[in-house]
Symmetry: C2
Subunit: 171 residues, 2 copies
């Protein structure tokens, strides 16, 4: 699974709309300016998000874009699948399951791919715009979950300070 520049732009724009949820429609130009995104390109992205019924537009003067649902009901996986396709690192989940069934020789490999996809899906389907948008209205389900996990692991540090865990070799 790869998140393209376009996918990042989409996520940024959606975070911005999440921060301004319930404040009426926001103009493309304002989103582009606030987030530092190319305006014309963003236009296409928002159109796609609109066709997927994730955002809605208000046309004409005083128009703009807004979320169709509250930020807490929009999963990151929806946006990523729309813009960048399947979460699996190769093919998609269904295809992988078929290969696992039929290609005995490579079953093990495809099962690993599917495991990776499931791990990504678990995270991205359980994280919503409300969880990451920041600004007023933060502290949602996800941030609570992450903090708990760190505490359970013996983490003591406040949020972003990346502690202890393996961290030797990198990507």
């Amino acid at each position: 699974m790869k998140i393209s520049q376009k996918g990042l732009y989409a996520l940024q724009a959606m975070m911005m709309l999440a921060r301004h949820y319930n404040q009426g429609a926001i103009r493309i130009r304002d989103i582009a300016y606030e987030e530092g995104l190319p305006e014309k390109f963003l236009e296409l992205i928002l159109l796609e998000l609109k066709n997927a019924r994730i955002v809605e537009s208000v046309r004409g003067a005083k128009g703009g874009y807004q979320l169709r649902r509250p930020p807490s009901e929009i999963q990151l996986s929806e946006i990523i699948r729309l813009i960048d396709g399947p979460l699996a690192p190769f093919g998609d989940a269904e295809q992988l399951r078929t290969l696992i069934d039929r290609d005995a020789e490579h079953r093990g490999l495809y099962q690993v791919f599917l495991d990776v996809r499931d791990a990504a899906a678990k995270i991205l389907e359980h994280t919503t715009l409300a969880d990451i948008a920041g600004g007023p209205g933060a502290e949602s389900s996800r941030s609570r979950k992450r903090r708990k996990k760190k505490e359970a692991e013996g983490g003591v540090l406040p949020m972003v300070v990346h502690g202890n865990v393996p961290r030797g070799k990198d990507d």
Copy 2:
């Protein structure tokens, strides 16, 4: 993280060499034939794997390729990082950590990306060629782990039968 066709070829070739570990050098032509890969393309891939010291070549007549280490000591992550780059869905781990530190506005998003990368790394760094190569010499650390996990979850089915868990919407 995206695994390209080239990356898949590399993994297949390595699985093949793992199955033939300790049987001397295997010719490119034989790997390509057995795995159904384009020979000339595979040539380049093996060269890259050799430069990364994962395989070694024997030159001249009767030459070929073989693993430099036992299959149980070659992580899938090594091969994937070499051919397809970082495991993170966007950028690489170090870059993400920097962004989490410096870009307050998007910290939450980048943290999610890093979580996804960590989940993928956990799987791909703990799975070796021995775990997936199949043929004689299978049943290694990983397959034991997976079975345990399934059993713990109440899974009763033999290996590949994908049970119960969420599986509704797909990639």
